[in-house]
Amino acid sequence: MTTLNNQQTEQVLGSLEAHIGGNRKLKNEMFDHWCTYVETHMNNGASFEQAYSKLKEEFGVNELKSIEKTYLAYHQSSLWVGTLQRAGSMAAMLLFLVVAGVDAQKRPDISPVFDQYIVSSAFGEQIHPITNKEIHHNGIDLRVPLNTPVRSTADGTVKTIKNSPKGHGLHIIIAHKDGYETLYANLSNVSVDAGQTVVKGEEIARSGNSGISSGPHLHYEIRLNQKPVNPKLYISK
């Protein structure tokens, strides 16, 4: 992938600044957007000059003005919403809190271990510790000592208990409400049965080093309608 040099970057910034006003947030993003636009075209064989003139052609002054206009219009309307919300009744606010509270209750929103932990591998694109290849990591790895108690992160039913020596090792899948499922892997010991109901915070297993693993850790996943989501953003306590 081509990256613009300093002089080229300055040139893009210069022409952006000539047309766009004071909105910093928008300007920063348009700056990256424009640079990436030019780089993509250079990657496809265009010279900087060609890509730059194509950029100016596509994003004329009028297009930029209209972006700013939309942006300002949105900002003014959101200011209005803010004022209205502040003026809104306490009853509505309380109702909102109650609804939000119930909703959050169902989500797996606590840490799967009781104590502090270090995330040794995050969610998303990561380098696999054993194969060294870039892969999508479907969960997070918590570096915890062997036999650390593992707890269910929401109310639910034990769906699967399985041992896959060439994969997750000894692992548990728990089904929760609203399409959520959680997976706890590389365990040493399981203390629940398949089909059993569990409550949030209940101990279900002890952590281990089973399956494909480069050291004692707990692999934890949250799936929503079978798709892995980022556990880090769910853990609130």
């Binding site: 920063n28 348009m30 700056f31 990256d32 957007h33 994003f59 972006i67 939309t70 942006y71 998303g124």
Partner: protein
């Protein structure tokens, strides 16, 4: 290209669903991915995309992460738990809407006819 009016109500669904499929993405990436997946039939303009992203962030559906690339800062957007759930409910609603409109336009296809 579809009319502005038609796209207006679906932008949110498109953006949230793309982020649900691909994890974190930056603005340019979202416009390119949309173009690619729709063979150029849906083009997200920057004027529509960035204000929407900032709005979704303010509403708590998105979180951002930044990365410096030389002098510039790239902003990545990802779904919050509320965003994960919203992406599902909006795309289910939209799929249902499309089905309903198909029946409306072709009454013969409707199970009620």
């Amino acid at each position: 290209m579809y009319s502005k009016e038609l796209l207006k109500g679906t932008l949110r669904t498109i953006v949230l669903k793309l982020l649900a499929e691909h994890g974190s993405m930056y603005g340019y990436e979202i416009t390119q991915k949309t173009k690619e997946l729709t063979s150029g039939k849906i083009v997200l303009t920057e004027g529509a995309l960035y204000p929407l992203l900032h709005k979704l962030e303010a509403e708590g559906y998105l979180v951002t992460n930044t990365k410096s690339i030389g002098k510039r800062i790239r902003k990545y957007y990802a779904l919050t738990p509320e965003g994960d759930e919203k992406a599902i409910s909006l795309s289910n609603e939209f799929a249902d809407f499309v089905q309903t409109v198909i029946y409306l336009l072709n009454p013969k296809l409707s199970p009620k006819s």
